[in-house]
């Protein structure tokens, strides 16, 4: 990126990069499409996997990091763990002692949920890995997400690290004063909860105070309550081509599923 982002027309090498709006829309269309895949058509998940991994390779995104982040989201799949037992269908196994039946349809459904989840998370994580946050926020604004909402998301992202630093400093200060006399008892859980509660309260108060100062800083530079942005990049043929392909694929999935 040059000294002034978005100023010059895209160079030859940059022209190969997709516009952030295109990347965002492609990701959304992909997630929509895989959620329309009929449960029994497992081969389509293979196709989707090739698409995601192909994008990861082409964009030279860090594969290990993407996998780690995907796994971090895995606990959410727990919500679907009951499906193999609750979905009606021919039983393939019975849990000894309890008598719960594992149904074939339920297993298929669970597999589909797992596949959709992993693919969707990988697509989203890939998007976030190859697109700088500020470009993603601009893209959100330019595809029609209300600018006030985009501004709030941007501020949240910007101040998350500041708040995190505040929290880390408080934790360090607490640790520095946490010691135990020989033979002394461990503080009670209630006491520890109270300390944690007051730390959260204090963080909240600091965040509110920072919000006030931030508002003053914005008003000082002429902020009038509306959100204004620069950077009006145009979509190139490659963006349109990719969006058309993804759009047609999504429509086809929709047709297949519902019509």
């Amino acid at each position: 990126m040059g000294a002034v982002p978005g100023k010059s027309p895209r160079s030859r090498s940059e022209a190969r990069r997709l516009d952030p709006r295109t990347r965002l829309l492609l990701t959304l269309l992909f997630i929509l499409s895989i959620n329309l895949v009929p449960v029994s058509e497992f081969w389509l998940y293979g196709v989707a996997l090739v698409i995601v991994w192909g994008s990861i390779l082409v964009s030279r995104a860090p594969l290990v990091k993407i996998w780690m982040r995907t796994l971090a989201a895995l606990p959410f799949v727990m919500a679907a763990l009951a499906l193999p037992f609750t979905t009606p269908g021919p039983a393939v196994w019975t849990v000894p002692g309890i008598g719960w039946q594992l149904s074939r349809n339920g297993l298929e459904l669970f597999g589909a949920v797992l596949a959709r989840f992993l693919l969707a998370v990988q697509a989203a994580v890939t998007l976030a890995s190859v697109t700088p946050a500020h470009e993603l926020f601009q893209a959100l604004g330019r595809i029609g997400v209300p600018t006030a909402l985009v501004a709030i998301i941007g501020l949240m992202y910007r101040y998350l690290s500041v708040l995190g630093d505040d929290a880390a400093r408080m934790l360090r200060a607490r640790s520095a004063r946490t010691s135990r006399a020989p033979g002394g008892k461990r503080p009670s859980l209630l006491w520890q909860t109270r300390v944690a509660g007051s730390m959260i309260g204090s963080l909240f108060v600091r965040a509110v105070a920072r919000g006030d100062r931030l508002h003053m800083a914005m008003r000082s530079r002429g902020f009038d309550g509306t959100v204004r942005t620069l950077n009006k990049r145009r979509l190139h043929w490659i963006d349109w081509a990719m969006l058309s392909v993804a759009g047609v694929a999504a429509l086809w999935m929709f047709y297949w599923r519902f019509i």
Partner: protein, 232 residues
């Protein structure tokens, strides 16, 4: 005369009297230090220069009174740099932050980009436009914070503790930058070496009042005055 304050008083909502009958005048291009112990009213005074806070009394910038009707115009003329650069740099990139002021001035896009480039060049950060503020050092953040108001081409630059928390090298960069600016500069600070080096006039505040106003040389030589008001 670029700034005139007449009998300004201000109390916070909790009843704390932060400014008491403050009057002062600052000429074009004059460089003034505002010194005083913690809680003396320095920051509160700066917040009145562009109407972020409104007390009783009168503030004039470039001959125009600071009042709700012309706040937008006043804010173009007064560049306020806050103590904590994290308050000033609220966008995802330095470019967006420096462009914020010119954008709200209603300038056309090309003009905004010119202003951003010029402001970043002035603080020596041309290559950092695309950087995210939360990945910068404190010294870089402070310089970028100055650029966010220089891009508005102000007549007065008001800075709150511009060198606090900085190491010697970063302090030198800020000092050199402020010394080279061709506009009125007001600096609220505890850094007496900065004052001695580049600010020929010093105003001493204590408990919301101006208790001394004169040449920096004379005021910094008056040790009893400095001791009395908690400066040394």
């Amino acid at each position: 005369m670029v700034l005139e304050i007449r009998n300004l008083s201000f109390s916070y909502e909790d009843g704390l009297e932060a400014l008491r009958d403050v009057s002062l005048r600052v000429g074009d291009g004059e460089k003034v230090a505002i010194v005083g112990a913690n809680g003396a009213g320095k920051s509160t005074l700066l917040l009145h220069l562009n109407g972020v806070l409104e007390g009783t009394g009168q503030v004039f910038v470039g001959g125009r009174r600071v009042q709700p009707a012309n706040l937008m115009e006043i804010r173009r003329s007064v560049g306020l740099v806050f103590q904590d650069p994290d308050d000033q740099l609220f966008s995802s990139t330095v470019f967006e932050d420096v462009a914020f002021g010119p954008l709200y001035m209603g300038l056309p896009e090309e003009k905004v980009r010119e202003r951003v480039e010029a402001a970043l060049r002035a603080v020596g950060m041309q290559r950092m436009a695309g950087r995210a503020p939360h990945r910068m050092s404190l010294g870089e953040k402070k310089l970028a914070a100055v650029a966010t108001v220089l891009s508005m081409d102000p007549r007065i630059l008001a800075l709150d503790e511009p060198t606090s928390g900085l190491d010697a090298r970063a302090t030198r960069r800020i000092t050199r930058l402020l010394a080279g600016l061709d506009l009125a500069v007001l600096v609220a600070t505890h850094d007496l070496s900065l004052v001695r080096e580049i600010l020929p006039r010093t105003i001493v505040m204590d408990r919301g009042e101006i208790v001394a106003d004169g040449s920096t040389e004379r005021i910094l030589a008056d040790r009893p005055l400095l001791v009395r008001h908690g400066l040394v």
